[in-house]
Amino acid sequence: MVIEKVLMAVGAPLIAFAIGLSFIMLKRKVVPRIQRRYGPPVIQPIYDVLKLLLKEENISHGIIFSLGPIIAVAGSILAVFFIPMGGWNMLSGSADLIALLYIMAIGSLGMALGAGDSANPNASIGISRALTLMFGYDLPLVIIVISVALYYNTTSLPDIIAAQAHGNWTAWALPLAAIVGFIVVYGALGEHPFDIITAPHEVATGPMVEYGGKHLGLLMINHAFHIYLEIALFVDLFLGGGSNLLEFYVKMFVVFFIMIFFDSVFPRFRIDDAVRFYWKWPAIIALVNLVIVLVR
């Protein structure tokens, strides 16, 4: 039993990172195909991350600047343990859905502190946009989380997954919530209409302006974890979470595949239009869904 626990403790973050990285590879291959060109070799993200980590010289603007990526990665690894992955629900017994929303905030707080310390106005503008966007998509996210919790009358993730066993997923029971969930997770990943945070043309890659070398490598690892976390949460809440790892991976693959098509088509929102968008349509749909759940 102990070995299995140790294996899970070490294996879960690595698997999560592998899944997240595979999605980045998928994106780096599919988007060029949409633009009618071949695109980089499949394992290009691995080359990028390793090249960044093996840079000979690294700069840092201070302790907090270096601590930022470390806290971000630590926060993401922490969140991985609280989301049931396939058959394993590791620690998700000890923190329920509401606590999970706050645990996922540790990573963004770490990155925000690190980027703030880089003494560059582009980074500060990037962070203020990131936090405003987070404030934007948190409203519909909270409404659908409450509606799912009320629908199953529990907030612990393993019970929600158990309730969705053999086929009756939440997506069929609460279709509106699933739609809003998709939009929210899509925005949280910073895909195209919402990539205001790292808009290369306006704010020179936002918070990552002064990051280079192994700091940027850590941030890319954190981005891979972030993709895994958001989509795993969506799959666990709405698509039944998968009994074994393969089924879990297939569901996540399908969800991310759809997102890539949205990503390569849309122009970019202005930040306050993005917040207005989130507080108008997804919020209204989510409220309608909430009333349905309350009335039922």
Binding site: P32, K55, E56, N58, I59, E210, Y211, L216
Partner: protein, 170 residues
């Protein structure tokens, strides 16, 4: 044993750096127009793992695309020094080689490599994308064979470069 692993790490590192070159193109002159064709579907340099990035901290190659007058040289040196260590410079076109058509102009510098070390030059008064692609290929071979060490040159005889820069910038 220690020496051998050091050697192995360097070869692996060179292999990785060859395959994922991030590029900042400092559009000083008319060469910047040659890069969009190399990036888009016709020539697609992303096949070699190269993609354009925005800030010097994140990038490996500095593309000097065209003539450099004295004012932009001052900015270019700041960008060059902000880049992190295994960095390479590619000089586009004859203006970086010997001043090109501006050979007698009082404002344009004549030889780029007196001010910052240049790894690869591309001849031609704005080389076509095929020439640019071959330059990238050549740079990759240099990196793989470990000969592309312009940045070490810059560190070694910094005084020489600084003196030249001061002579021009004043």
């Amino acid at each position: 044993m220690e020496k051998m692993t050091e050697e192995q790490v360097r070869t692996i590192a060179n292999m990785l750096r060859k395959r994922s070159l991030w590029m900042i193109h400092y559009c000083t002159g008319c060469g910047a127009m040659e890069l969009p064709p190399t990036m888009t579907s016709r020539y697609d340099m992303e096949r070699f793992g190269m993609s354009p990035y925005v800030t010097p901290r994140q990038c490996d190659i500095l593309l000097v695309t065209g003539y450099l007058n004295v004012k932009t040289l001052r900015r270019l040196i700041t960008v060059y020094e902000q880049m992190l260590d295994p960095k390479y410079v590619i000089g586009f076109g004859s203006c970086t080689l010997n001043g090109g058509v501006y050979w007698d102009s009082y404002a344009v510098i004549k030889r780029l490599d007196r001010y910052i070390p240049v790894d690869v030059y591309i001849a031609g008064c704005m080389p076509r994308p095929e020439a640019v692609m071959s330059a990238f290929k050549h740079l990759m071979e240099l990196i793989d064979s470990g000969k592309a060490n312009g940045y070490k040159l810059y560190k070694k005889n910094l005084a020489y470069y600084k003196e030249n820069q001061r002579k021009v910038l004043g």
